[in-house]
């Protein structure tokens, strides 16, 4: 428990650090939110800047931002008139979350199932087929796969709509494109883990006890084989979060990723900050989650935060 509390404190620290860094970098980019507009009279620009406190010293802006952050107020959007960043996040996040969650579930279950199957059929046809798919999944970038799916499955075959959002059939292609890489990685790790575990002495013991094959595989082997998969969970969540940007862009899904990408070219400071903070917080949470899953899987790992304790 103490360990988890410590981790939460350090997580808050990490998020703060991300805020600060993003804030600095954002202001370091030349140009401001309104400098790319068609030429406005300097007085008006000045007025706008005044309204959004952009004329304040940077330090004051930063402190004000932190203060508002503490109340989960991300401020107004400069680009989308009359809407706050909170509105935008609320609107976009469910879509992003649905996409990410579906991809996560598919990646975990699909990847583990493929890995176990490949391991049990080692060096047989099915194993080679899975290894082939895994190799494709790992080496083809998601945007290439996404475009490919859009063109062949969506445009040529009309199985699923190539673009858009709103219906169940809209989500199929983006989820496949997003999860292809993690499915492949998890399948690879599970296969390797299973092959290693299946030669262990305790599997022989389980056989000698006369247990059913399914019991041996699920209860005795899989739990041990998943340890390397859990190690991958941290990078995996990061991949899902960042992969979302690309996939949302390619499939024209109005999720947070869209806002994130456009906000940077628009210098829409509050939106940049809001989306970055959200993603940072999510990533930190998921990493903590992965560590906790570790201990659930393997009793020998104790989260004490101290070496050898």
């Amino acid at each position: 428990m103490r360990y988890i509390f410590g981790r939460i404190v350090s997580a808050i620290f990490v998020v703060w650090f991300v805020i600060t860094l993003t804030f600095m970098l954002m202001h370091a980019i030349p140009g401001g939110p309104f400098s790319s507009e068609k030429v406005l009279p300097p007085a008006i620009i000045d007025n706008i800047n005044e309204r959004y406190h952009l004329n304040d010293p940077l330090l004051k802006q930063y402190l004000d931002y932190l203060k508002n952050m503490a109340y989960f107020d991300f401020g107004p959007s400069y680009r989308y008139q009359g809407r706050t960043v909170n509105d935008l996040l609320q609107e976009g996040f469910p879509k992003t979350a649905l996409l990410g969650l579906s991809a996560t579930i598919l990646a975990l279950f699909g990847g583990v199932a493929m890995g176990v199957t490949a391991a049990l059929k080692q060096n047989k046809m099915l194993d080679y087929v899975i290894i082939f798919l895994v190799t494709i999944g790992i080496s083809v970038p998601s945007f290439v796969l996404a475009t490919f799916l859009q063109y062949y499955i969506g445009y040529e075959l009309h199985w699923f709509p190539p673009l858009g959002w709103g219906e169940v059939k809209n989500i199929i292609l983006p989820v496949i494109a997003l999860s292809a890489y993690p499915v492949a990685q998890i399948a690879r790790l599970t296969r390797a883990g299973m092959l290693d575990v299946l030669t262990q002495d305790y599997i022989r013991t389980a056989k000698a006890k006369g247990l059913a094959k399914s019991t041996i595989i699920i209860r005795h082997a899989l739990k041990n084989a998943l340890t390397p998969v859990v190690t991958f969970l941290g990078p995996f969540f990061a991949y899902i979060l960042t992969g979302n940007f690309v996939i949302e862009y390619v499939f024209n899904i109005p999720g947070i990723g869209q806002f994130f990408v456009t906000s940077i070219s628009n210098r829409d400071y509050p939106v940049i900050m809001g989306t970055t903070v959200l993603f940072a917080a999510l990533l930190v949470t998921f990493n903590l989650l992965a560590d906790i899953i570790y201990t659930l899987l393997d009793p020998r790992i104790k989260l004490t935060g101290r070496e050898g304790a």
């Binding site: 002495d201 305790y202 000698a208 006890k209 006369g210 247990l211 059913a212 009793p299």
Partner: protein
């Protein structure tokens, strides 16, 4: 009388990229009810493969039982489908292994690993299974059973884990227990405790035991009959006293001479058997031991010796036992062994 277990002309091979490895060729023996049989021999002589063949634990591929019969309670195990075989394993016959450190699953509690056997074979309810498990843990000398059941293997010492393995193996009250070098990985005092425990249990529950070891000293105190294996074959078998008092095979002589003796106060070196273990990938046309045998004759390199009866129950496979072979006396045996103890035997590639 029908034997509890009867192995007849068993041959098991492993098919590797290098070729067929004949781990066991033509092994026959039996075990009676309540009897302890010892199988001795150096590493790689086929002891483990023999008992794994009995248990149906040969990984296939690369392993394969080429021929032979294994009758357990009158049933040919090799003809049984895997499902029926699994129902026998852990119930009618069970096995404990050499290394208790790796034989228990690290991510399951002791309780989970023991109780699952009872769920599987006896259809016990939770309470019943729990009571039986605690009783058996108590029997193998683990007193605080209730607490132990919730612990994980890494919280146990090697000796404790082997006790857990033994308790687990006996949970369903099997008729046959196969102990594959149960004490090799333990330190000496724990070894003695575990053997003592097995001896007690054998008396208590009328268990038949096959004890595999390369320690003849263990066999002397534990078993009534011994099988000596070399290069995948049985070279000699008989009652313990036959083997220790009047061994007939030169390999057995060599084994007996390499036991350290406590009563020998002089600091003499142990006498090893010179040479290297046989190469089962390229079996010799004759006796596998001929290359290391100080008494080898021409025929030893040409033909596999047949098993000869010495007296009831005692038999050996050696050309020296052929009526035409030269007779050796004890002194001659000794001098010949000493003469060869530094020269190498057949080179293996």
């Amino acid at each position: 009388m029908q034997h509890l277990l009867e192995v007849d002309n068993l041959s098991t091979s492993f098919f590797t990229y290098a070729g067929e490895i004949r781990a066991v060729s033509g092994v026959s023996f039996y075990v009676d009810e309540g009897e302890a049989l010892g199988i001795v021999g150096e590493s790689g002589c086929g002891k483990s493969v023999t008992v794994k063949s009995i248990m149906g634990l040969i990984p296939e591929p690369p392993g394969k039982i080429i021929k032979g019969q294994i009758n357990f309670r009158g049933q040919n195990l090799l003809a049984l489908p895997e499902k029926k075989m699994a129902a026998l394993r852990g119930k009618a016959m069970s096995m404990i292994f050499q290394d208790p450190m790796t034989s228990l699953n690290p991510v399951l509690t002791i309780g989970q690993q023991m109780i699952e056997v009872l769920y599987r074979h006896e259809g016990f309810g939770k309470r019943e299974a729990f009571a039986r498990t605690a009783e058996f843990l108590d029997m193998v000398g683990i007193s605080d059973a209730r607490h132990c059941l919730k612990q994980y293997p890494h919280e146990f010492s090697g000796g404790m884990r082997q006790r857990v393995m033994i308790a687990t193996a006996l949970l369903c009250q099997p008729q046959l227990l196969i102990a594959d070098e149960p004490t090799t990985a333990l330190d000496v005092t724990i070894q003695a405790q575990i053997l003592e425990l097995l001896r007690d249990l054998k008396k208590k529950v009328n268990l038949s035991i096959i004890l595999i070891t390369h320690d003849l000293g263990v066999v002397a105190g534990f078993c009534s009959r011994v099988i000596v294996m070399y290069g995948g074959r049985i070279v000699e078998s008989g009652l313990v006293q036959d083997i220790f008092k009047s061994a007939q095979h030169p390999y057995t002589w060599g084994l007996l001479r390499s036991i350290p003796r406590l009563d020998n106060t002089q600091r003499t070196r142990l006498i090893p058997i010179p040479g290297t273990p046989p190469d089962l990938l390229h079996p010799a046309p004759g006796c596998e031991f001929a290359a290391r045998c100080p008494f080898a004759m021409n025929i030893c390199n040409e033909q596999v010796p047949v098993m000869r009866q010495i007296n009831s129950g005692h038999q050996a496979a050696c050309w020296l036992l052929h009526p035409q072979a030269p007779k050796l006396n004890i002194a001659e045996r000794r001098s010949r062994y000493e003469g060869t103890s530094h020269s190498g035997g057949r080179k293996s590639c």
